[in-house]
């Protein structure tokens, strides 16, 4: 669905690249996470893929179109949810969606249904300028679904949302993935990436450092330990045991069989820990 080869982009049109030699492929129906701190080159890469920034160097194919000479029809197949909410403040939520749906040449989803999906149906006829930041963000998100995109670009889709709403948004993304939508998810939120993505790319200072599935990364970079709390003669005991060491495995088995386990956690690494380990920098 997406193929990026040797992508470079410089805002100052010189050797100071915001994105340097980025290459990756995304298969149809895959949720691909682009992880990196602010200024790492995530939005620039997405900007080039969505035609908002010119392709200066490299090859980029999106939904079967070469973005360098893509016709406007390409946008019937893609949807973009921006990090910064960008809706017409003087129009109502419903008017915003009604306007944008008319710009597509393909069947579009019912704006009222979309507003309901993101929990904005009760303010559908209210001016978007009067919405809270989170509500505007949800309206921007809903707008990106109007044309039921095959290729869906999501830039920080849960940023600024309360946990309950963020959970709704994540469920919507999962639902669209089930339908076969390909998702390019740009975020610095490791939990969102961990929960939604089939594969993630770590980008820092414009360069992609690695690409793999969250599971593989955890297996490769995490510790093979389990932390267990159990009762022993009335006392609560806490131990860290290895998955690899045979003696520890037998001991863990005995504890579990005793039926006195109160808490047990695997100690795999988080994506953020792996990111720091790989890049030497944090995600925030």
């Amino acid at each position: 669905m997406i193929r990026v080869e040797g992508l470079y982009h410089s805002y100052s049109h010189n050797e100071k690249y915001a994105v340097r030699d980025a290459s990756f492929e995304i298969a149809k129906g895959e949720v691909f996470g682009f992880l990196g701190p602010s200024g790492a080159g995530k939005s620039t890469t997405q900007g080039v893929m969505t035609g908002l920034l010119p392709l200066q160097k490299g090859n980029v194919t999106v939904a079967g179109y070469d973005v360098k000479k893509a016709p406007r029809a390409m946008f019937n197949k893609i949807g973009v949810s921006f990090e910064q909410s960008n809706v017409y403040g003087k129009l109502t939520g419903l008017e915003n969606l009604e306007f944008y749906r008319r710009l597509f040449d393909v069947p579009t989803r019912d704006p009222k249904e979309l507003l309901e999906l993101v929990g904005l149906d009760h303010v559908a006829t209210q001016r978007a300028g009067e919405y809270s930041k989170g509500m505007k963000h949800r309206l921007t998100f809903a707008r990106s679904m109007l044309n039921s995109p095959e290729m869906w670009f999501l830039d920080e889709p849960t940023t600024g949302l309360d946990p309950a709403i963020a959970s709704v948004i994540k469920e919507i993304v999962k639902g669209e993935k089930e339908k076969g939508t390909t998702v390019f998810l740009t975020t610095h939120n490791m939990f969102v990436a961990d929960e939604l993505c089939d594969r993630v790319a770590f980008i820092i200072d414009g360069e992609i450092k690695l690409i793999d599935s969250p599971r593989n990364l955890k297996l490769q970079h995490g510790e093979q330990l389990v932390e267990v709390e159990y009762r022993d003669n009335g006392d609560v005991k806490k131990e860290r045991l290895s998955f690899i060491d045979e003696k520890d495995m037998h001991h863990l088995n005995d504890i579990v069989n005793s039926g006195k386990v109160e808490m047990m956690h695997t100690k795999e690494a988080t994506l953020e820990e792996i990111f720091i380990k790989v890049t030497g920098k944090g995600l925030q």
Binding site: L52, N76, V87
Partner: protein, 344 residues
């Protein structure tokens, strides 16, 4: 259809904003000032306090002449009284006419602030008026105009083309740029850019809003000030052509900048430069090439032609065609530039 939806959305935004109401309000204020405060003809009546010290037929002829000059003449019995009245009425001039060795002697008594041009006008008109009435005067002066049967507009109506050019045609130059930069600031331009709609749909939708606003304000002013004297078909076509030209020029200038602050200086300067044509419009004797090449110069005269009973249709439609073509060229250039810069 995308163009229509884009236009309707911009119209909707415009009606929910201020600009369209400010523009219409300004047209109404202009109409009110023109009708209530500006006279139809500017004829400043200068009061002349005169003392005539002549004899026989000269005295009668001089009195006859003064009453025909179009001045407000008040004859006084002495020069001293003339000076007293002048002191009381600072807008007046004085005149003492006498005979010296059989020749008429004119003594002008002025306030002191009058410029040389005014002094010469007063001197020439009064002396020639007197001379014409004097016994034995033979008029050998003839006046010929290159254009026969020249139609004159009233002074009030003569101001309408300036409003139409600067407000109805060129105001869009500034406003369309502010619409674009507002969309850039809100980021809505990026949302539009990721739809199948084309850049020209976006730009032309905005041109349409400016056109509706310009037509409304222009026609309000024309309807109230010119009434049935204007030829509305010609006027509407000229308004459309000039308004589109103004908007396209505004788009072209805006395409070189990424913020309103950066573009403001150039846009403001453009309007000021275009406004210079009004100087030559009111004072045809001052029409240097630098002003005649401004697009606002023929525009003003074309608007004036639509107000004449028998306006020059060839001139009007040459302007309609010229401004339409120029508007199309600037629009195409803007579209080409904005394709590369609109979302960057």
């Amino acid at each position: 259809m995308k163009l229509l939806y884009s236009f309707l959305k911009d119209m909707q935004l415009s009606l929910k904003g201020f600009y369209i109401y400010i523009e219409i309000g300004f047209a109404l204020v202009f109409v009110a000032v023109m009708l209530l405060a500006v006279p139809e003809y500017f004829e400043p009546k200068v009061t002349v306090y005169a003392h005539l010290d002549l004899e026989g037929p000269y005295q009668a002829a001089a009195e006859e002449s003064l009453t025909q000059e179009g001045y407000d003449i008040i004859l006084l019995p002495s020069r001293e009284e003339v000076e007293t009245e002048l002191a009381n009425d600072r807008g007046s001039v004085g005149l003492a006419v006498g005979l010296e060795d059989g020749r008429i002697v004119y003594d002008y008594i002025l306030q002191g602030y009058e410029d040389e041009k005014f002094r010469n006008i007063i001197k020439t008109s009064i002396e020639s008026g007197f001379a014409a009435e004097m016994p034995g005067y033979e008029n050998v002066t003839t006046v010929t105009t290159l254009e026969g049967n020249v139609e004159k507009l009233s002074d009030r109506l003569n101001m309408l083309p300036v409003f139409l050019a600067l407000n109805a045609a060129f105001m869009g130059l500034f406003i369309i740029a502010s619409y674009i930069f507002l969309d850039k600031e809100e980021g809505t331009i990026r949302a539009f850019a990721v739809t199948p709609a084309k850049v020209w749909h976006y730009l032309l939708g905005k041109v349409g809003v400016i056109l509706v606003t310009g037509l409304l304000s222009g026609l309000i002013a024309a309807a109230f000030i010119a009434g049935l004297k204007a030829h509305y078909l010609h006027l509407i076509l000229l308004l459309i052509a000039t308004n589109v030209f103004g908007s396209a020029l505004g788009l072209f200038i805006a395409s070189f900048f990424n913020t309103m602050t950066k573009a403001m200086g150039w846009l403001y300067m453009s309007i000021i430069v275009l406004a210079f044509a009004a100087v030559s419009y009111y004072n045809p004797a001052f029409s240097p090439l630098i002003i005649r090449i401004l697009p606002s110069y023929p525009m003003l005269f074309a608007f004036r032609e639509t107000l004449y009973e028998a306006g020059n249709l060839g001139y009007i439609y040459a302007n309609v065609l010229g401004f339409t073509l120029a508007g199309v060229v600037f629009f195409l250039l803007s579209n080409w530039r904005f394709k590369k810069t609109l979302t960057v």
